[in-house]
Symmetry: D2
Subunit: 292 residues, 4 copies
């Protein structure tokens, strides 16, 4: 359609294309969820409904955006990863981040009633999320990122489990509990849990201890010897054309998205699911777990 003399203002939009051939992680965080979890009465230290809602919203994002190859969530945060060969939205940062944040929010609000049937949302306290895109130059560093989040999950959950046991079961006030836990090691917290409350931390639910990892379910492979991930260049990969990309997306949409609660720090997870780091589709599965 027709233009106007004001159109020059478009030139103020600045390009924000992310570096080619790097992993892109979009991490989103709940805004003010500390206050919000009080407002809607989330159970402490972990509210299974809230985590299931986070996971359901994340599955919605994975389904809407087949370019995503893995996601990992703990508490009120979720990390979504695009493979280095991803060309979605020409790798424009704002476009990638806002699409994920908005899609996640849409699913979260839409599904709220399913997970919190007795706690309707209030317009003045709607949940929302912010986000950012970060590049990681190779698979090694990308895996370190994922490990960082899972270690954080462990550290936070052990702390929270101990803290809330002291408060809810032990009757301590919050400040007292905080003070006692200051400077303690993991072993100290394990001991407090076991000795005072008869809780063996190892028996806690995996979803709380490991967080949630989402991926497309191809057939698991045997653990292989060649764990070395070679560096690649687009030259060798024959970058897919727009049409090919669309074809790949269609195929991916058909693969089920799995919600798992397993160790993603050790090599095994990645070796048995080589399609995640390679960016190439695996074999169709014969069995499936907790399918979303």
């Amino acid at each position: 359609m027709a233009n106007s003399k004001y159109e020059y203002v478009k030139s103020f939009e600045q390009p924000d294309v992310l570096l080619p051939n790097t992993w892109i992680v979009v991490r989103i965080d709940g805004r003010g969820f500390h206050k919000l979890s009080d407002y809607y009465g989330f159970i402490k230290p972990n509210d299974r409904r809230a985590l299931d809602l986070m996971n359901a919203a994340a599955v919605g994002v994975m389904k809407d955006l087949p370019d995503l190859c893995i996601a990992y969530g703990i508490s009120d945060e979720y990390s979504f990863a695009f493979h280095p060969n991803c060309q979605l939205f020409e790798r424009r940062s704002a476009k990638l981040v806002t699409t994920i944040v908005s899609t996640f929010t849409a699913h979260y609000i839409y599904l709220w009633g399913t997970y919190f049937p007795d706690t309707p949302l209030q317009p003045a306290a709607l949940p929302s999320f912010d986000g950012r895109a970060v590049m990681y130059p190779n698979s090694r560093i990308f895996r370190d990122y994922m490990s960082w989040r899972q270690v954080d999950c462990h550290i936070n959950n052990l702390y929270n489990t101990t803290f809330w046991s002291m408060v809810l079961q032990g009757g301590m006030d919050r400040r007292e509990a905080e003070l006692e836990l200051k400077g303690t090691l993991s072993s100290d917290k394990n001991e407090i849990l076991f000795k005072r409350f008869g809780i063996n931390y190892n028996n806690e639910e995996e979803i709380y201890k490991k967080g949630s990892v989402l991926y497309r379910q191809y057939q698991l492979e045997e653990k292989s010897d060649s764990s070395v991930q070679e560096e690649t260049s687009p030259l060798q990969e024959d970058m897919p054309s727009k049409t090919q990309q669309e074809k790949i997306r269609k195929l991916r949409r058909k693969v089920q998205v799995v919600v798992d609660h397993v160790d993603i720090i050790k090599d095994e997870f990645w070796e048995r699911r080589p399609w995640i780091l390679s960016g190439k589709p695996g074999k169709l599965p014969t069995e499936a777990k907790e399918v979303a």
Copy 2:
């Protein structure tokens, strides 16, 4: 809490602070709304329910983010503007954009049922929005941006009104109508509307012709002579401290957000509402219009 050896990955997050003392416009756009409006049966050329929903979601954003000083919406897009003196989130681009996109989406999904009571949302077709932040170095250029959007509103609405009259009332097929309109001037379209369908475009509703402008309702001022907007520097403005910012936010939350459908290209709108360009609060109003 405790750290881990993986924490070095945090160093890959890159700063994205926007240039100080510039206008920041966050524009959001509906993703795939062409398809979506067909899916949910939006009325053509303008669905009042859909526009009212957009406006209600935008009012929600304005209320949640008192730093915003004006917003302007047409069709499935909305522009939200922060004044050059805004310090919200240290002016980090991703944080500003994702917060607005997520908050808008949350309100949109939450309020859907109010505006489309007979058309429930489907999980496979949830509305979502993308967004971007653009800096404009001075008020003159910021106003040109706003003018650009309102001219676009006019051009698109005149075209759409004519096109859908030809199709829905005139019984033409879409392609035929498109072909006939190709290359026509505004005057041609006005004539088609009037001669063939008895429609005087000037009598169309203001919300369709002018779009929707949202602002905080202080007392309107008389049109003044000194329309010149002087260039300023933070030096002269005495940048507000964090505490002062919080105080200003509290005051702004109390001021009503108005949804208006008026000309924002001419000077009058800005002269009578000097608080928008100055970033300083106006006088409390004695009268109010369509208050949200």
Copy 3:
């Protein structure tokens, strides 16, 4: 010419276009000039030869790059400014910065022998400069930048003049002098200079007290009343085409570049030379000062 399969690597170059309609200041700094000034025996506190060499190199840059509208130098640093309407190199940051740094260095090395005829350069200790580009959104803030540099010039020169008087004339050792000066006010330093060494700081040479400002010499205008600098948009300025830009450059090359040592903090300097802030050529001069 022909291509190769490796050409995809070009896609890793990221755009770095500066925001339109902002002032661009490229500031360059001597690398390790503290050590270098000892190595080549610069006179303390000010070596007139070294400053004249800096100014001569800066004049070379102004002549080679007619888009520059003003430059300001103190000690081993120089700031070069482009007007908001500048389109040189499509406003690519790296291109602008490196061109200025390289051109400056070339003139500096080339002219060294003229200013230091008895002190030949040594290949292991060649002077070099680093640089950066900074955007300033309006003339008010740009002037504050220039004022910042001139205030810095004053503060540093008063300190250095006092310090070196105490060391060279007063026979104090450097540490002693540093300790005594710690925490002193301007008035204290003026007093030390006057009482101990009979130096009236006001009588020091202007080049040391005020630094050096370079601009193109059009005819000075009378101080006008309308000191208000209106904000502009490219809309109103009718952005020059590539051909027009080239024409403007040719005209500017003919105007003499002046090296001045005057106050640039007060309004007078800018009011009498309106072509600097307006970006529009002035009237050809009838008289000229110290022409470079």
Copy 4:
């Protein structure tokens, strides 16, 4: 020293830190060297003096900046590479680029007289260079970048050798030669050279055909089987502290910088000089070639 109210302008400097753990290539190009080479009478198609001067300036840069691990030059351009583990200037882009551009320019101007004793520089036509920094996420892609430049060297040199033979020896005018060469393959050009001018392109000097590669001369290693370059993360490399970095720099300064004219596309070059891609020092050499 003391501050001023204008200091807020410092907040307009924006961070430009390059992504950690990526290769950084700073490529510099002669500004207007087409015209300049005519002005100073450079010999066509290759002026050995001009290339030797480029190489000498590049050696100067490698010596001044021990963090550089390799450089490659053709015609009036030079690429300087920093290893992913490089921390120089906190990886600030402008600082890295301008330091290299300025240091290169300083050596080039300083050494001009050595290589062009009979052609003094003219102040109105001083050589200068622009530059840019590009990140490459892994060694594979970095090597593709280097291959790209060397292929370009070959393509340009074959073309230029043929073109200038046709003009200088064959007496054709430039336009005629250009037209005839349009669309020709390498084989065609080889044939023209051989049949018309008796030139066997393979016998041309290596510096023209291969360009110049500069690196620190440790002891060459036997070609090994394990050509696979594993991806690394800073975690495994134990990032060096500031003190360690300074120690490494000192050691590197002692290693001789070599100017070589060899194939850098095939694996052999990199396998025999593993210190370049690994970023770790090799063994001190027992023999040395053309040492700079």
